[in-house]
Amino acid sequence: MPVVTIDGLPISVEPDTLIIQAADRAGIEIPRFCYHPDLRPEGNCRMCLVRVKGFARLTPACTTPVADDMVVTTAHADDEVRRASRGVLEFLLINHPLDCPICDQAGECSLQDFYMHPDYGLHHSDVESREKVRKRKAIDLGSVYLDSERCVMCSRCVRFSNEVTGAGELQFVHRGNHVELVAFQDRALRDPYAGNLADLCPVGALTSRDFRFKRRVWFLHHAPSVCAGCSTGCNVRIDYTERGIERVVPRRNPFVNRSWMCDEGRFSYQTVSQLPRVTTPLTREGEDLHPVSWEQALACARGAFSLPRRGEAAVIGSPMATNEALWGLQEYARNMKDPVALEFRSTSADPDVEARLDELLLHADRAPNSRGAMMLGMGASDGLENIAVRAEQGMIDLALILHYPPVVPAGQPDLDRRVTALARLVRHARFSIVLTNADEDWWHAADVILPVASWSEEEGTYTNFNSTTQHVACGQDPPGEVRPAWRALLDLLASVPAARRYGSAQEIFDRGVAAMPAFDGLRFDTLVSRHATVYPPEGRTSYGQEGFAGR
């Protein structure tokens, strides 16, 4: 492997690594605007110029591959490189409107960050505002707003549009310092991935319409999570405040979603936050459901657990649930007298988690954890609809149902059938316990309702279409008396001594889920520290771990 020396630090990297990537790996900061790890490098911003020993001119670190024994100096160690970086930053700022007070990018803007760095910025402006080149501002392009004045022409957006999604909706026009980014006739972008443009833009030229003027970014708290919109499992970061989720942005994971996510997933948090919630446990008193305390509700539900049974018990999971919650359901089923129907599917066919909707990210299976449910062996019966039929025949004594409405309502042909089957099951089972996060009609015939946390409100793990198990952090507190589903299930099992060992999602995963053959040996810590852990689901003799510990 070539060894390149950057600022005196020898770094061993694979051939064809770019200097900027080698520096990133070694933790040496090289300022950049146009370079993006998931786009073809273009070398147009000239901010990343470095000196390579033997080269006549300074060379952009983002387009120059390393060679063995290459000696590179950056702005931290070389006066001329520093002058070059300062010069480029000054050029970028001479026609910048400096309207940071009204710019949503402020706080996460590369121009601001580099300006505040003593090596590149902190110079006094040499131009007056009236000398600046004026361009168009606040152009509504659908999911993003375009502000040409703030643009640094790094072409990340153009390259994303051309190379990643192929939409090709953005282009530069004019020449010299009148160059402007445009969408044809200012038409709204039709790219279903256009939301990424706002994340991609290093400055405030493209900002999110959804997040526009909502909050200054320095007030946001962050939680690493995974999108629940489909079986892709795009890594996301939930940005929330005390008001709730303010936005969801993709986290880079080269093995799953690179740096992107689809707009449906991006805005699925709105579905979650607008969901009509059930926030207190309810129990049946005659015809009506009445709010009660958790203790009362659990006591009522536990009574059913030891009820003498003639027929079957149905334990119904959801592919929207975390592995931990599903494991809790299994634990419940394991501690119950046979026969038990353990199921999460609508029919007896396994969901096709690998069917794609497009070539980039989207999968047809609109649940984040179908693969996890399959790996946990949740589909052990003959499908929810058949169970519902048996319930109508009076063969189901007890139904324990965990159900979440999908976070992406569109494209769910299965949903109505599923809810109908659940309604039939609840109506005809002798006793039914429903764990859900939403106030919906179908469960009004149930006997006990336990309110559980929605996506983003509980910690856990999801396993995506290619058996990558990923950690989801808790992004906000659940409302009211809502508990995480795994916690509610363990509370139900309080009489079972084994269940008392588990106090957190981590303990359930390490001692419970990881004990399942398909997850054998996975550690929760590993999932948290490495952003993804891939396991071949079956037919493996040994397993490897692939992780990504980058930013």
């Binding site: 070398g43 000239r46 409107p97 009236r130 010299g176």
Partner: protein, 456 residues
């Protein structure tokens, strides 16, 4: 004096194939086709021919870089996007002796084994198209171009493409992008065109004048060519003489010819009653020469380099004592500001900024440190851009300011005093001075002064 390029240009029927052939056209091609491509490259390398587009890179060496890969056949691009201000030799050549250029192109295509050849001519040279297409048609009918050139089995096709009128299309990678139908943004090198150029194929880009030398070299041999001119710059050079001179025009002179002799003999000296002040020797992209420097310099790559300038494209612009250098610089720096493609930062922002400063030197509103500012901005552009346009824009600014500083300083003294910034008029501290970045203030000042905030 031996003429390599312009020997037949004065004949009216030279544009027809019959006329050209009567004076030996395509003999060089026949010569070349008898040799193997490798030998042609060797011959051209021995002749010492250097590129006439501006950089002066040895043509034989350039062709030698090419690795022949049948999966990605090489492409020859003939660069006729003559956009350098003060340069009009390629137009002259194409208009008077198109068969010479076509023959040169075919020799080069044979040498690098290229089947696809593109002749890229400047958008503004549209009027040349009928003539050029007629000449190509004649050459095709005579079997010089086509699937089987002169019965040798070699296939060569020449496509004529026109630019839409951008200076940057003359930059070799910008030209490729333009040919591919994209915006002419120069490409970052490496990969160099010889490895990955037009449409991902190995590509050679040669200037029209460079290729027009080839028939002569093929006919007379490398040694004869090498005997012309100087040791390091063999051959002759087409010079486009313009500006304040009695007989402007295109002249062919041997390399090493004194510049002062060119101005006096061919150019006929300055206009009556005027005196030579300065000469830009190679298009506006190269540093200007003062009258004293002109007296010492000869027309070849080394001599020009010795006085700190470049022969460039040979577009010589003559200034006499009636010319105001700041006004001349205004026109030049505006050219580069409008022609900067806008791809990379230093050139995009820097050229416009320099033009704006030259503007305010002339229009009033200059600051007393503006000359130093111009030099500082130039230093921040030079050597930090993707292509040579940034450097090209800096050279005239720097050389004008350094060599004619007194004229600029006089301007600074006589200039209309600078409008005080708003905050001083209001008696405000610097903190509030920086407030006004938001559009409205600028728009308001525009409304008050009746001037756009930025002018070309």
């Amino acid at each position: 004096m031996t003429k390599v390029l312009s020997q037949n240009a004065e004949f009216a029927d030279q544009t027809t194939l019959a006329g050209a052939e009567s004076r030996g056209a395509y003999d060089g091609l026949r010569h070349a086709l008898e040799q193997s491509p490798r030998d042609v490259i060797q011959e051209v390398a021995e002749s010492g021919l250097r590129g006439r587009g501006g950089a002066g890179f040895p043509t034989g060496r350039k062709w030698g870089f090419l690795q022949f890969d049948p999966a990605r056949p090489p492409v020859l691009l003939c660069n006729g996007d003559e956009s350098e201000p003060g340069t009009f030799k390629d137009h002259w050549l194409l208009a008077r002796d198109p068969h010479l250029v076509i023959e040169g192109i075919l020799i080069a295509a044979h040498a690098i084994r290229a089947q696809d050849v593109f002749l890229y001519i400047r958008g503004e040279y549209e009027s040349l198209l009928p003539l050029l297409m007629g000449a190509l048609e004649e050459a095709r009918a005579a079997g010089f171009i086509g699937p089987d050139v002169l019965g040798t089995g070699r296939c060569m096709a020449i496509t004529v493409a026109t630019g839409a009128g951008a200076y940057i299309c003359g930059e070799e990678t910008g030209l490729m992008e333009s040919l591919e139908g994209k915006r002419a943004y120069p490409r970052v090198r490496p990969p160099f065109p010889a490895v990955r150029g037009f449409a991902g194929r190995p590509t050679v880009v040669n200037n029209v004048e460079t290729l027009a030398n080839l028939p002569w070299i093929m006919r007379r041999g490398a040694a004869a060519f090498h005997a012309l001119g100087t040791e390091d710059s063999p051959g002759t050079k087409l010079v486009s003489l313009s500006g304040c001179i009695s007989r402007p025009g295109v002249y062919e002179v041997p390399m090493g010819y004194p510049l002062s002799a060119l101005l006096e003999n061919e150019g006929g000296g300055p206009l009556p009653g005027r005196h030579l002040k300065a000469v830009i020797p190679g298009g506006t992209s190269v540093p200007i020469l003062t009258a004293e420097e002109v007296a010492t310099v000869t027309i070849d790559f080394e001599s020009m380099r010795a006085v700190g300038t470049l022969l460039g494209s040979g577009g010589m612009i003559v200034f006499d004592d009636t010319v105001s250098m700041p006004h001349a610089l205004r026109s030049i720096s505006h050219f580069y500001a409008t022609e900067s493609c806008g791809e990379c930062t230093p050139c995009r922002e820097g050229t416009g900024w320099m033009a704006a400063i030259v503007d305010r030197l002339l229009d009033g509103g200059a600051r007393k440190d503006d000359l130093d500012r111009l030099l500082r901005i130039g230093g921040n552009i030079e050597g930090r851009t993707i292509c040579g346009l940034g450097d090209a824009a800096v050279q005239p600014v720097r050389s004008f300011v350094l060599k004619f500083r007194s004229e600029f300083e006089a301007l600074l003294r006589d200039t209309i005093p600078r409008l005080e910034p708003d905050w001083q008029a209001h008696g405000h501290g610097p903190r509030t001075a920086r407030r006004g970045a938001v559009g409205e203030e600028a728009r308001r000042s525009e409304a008050v002064t009746g001037r756009p905030t930025y002018r070309w």
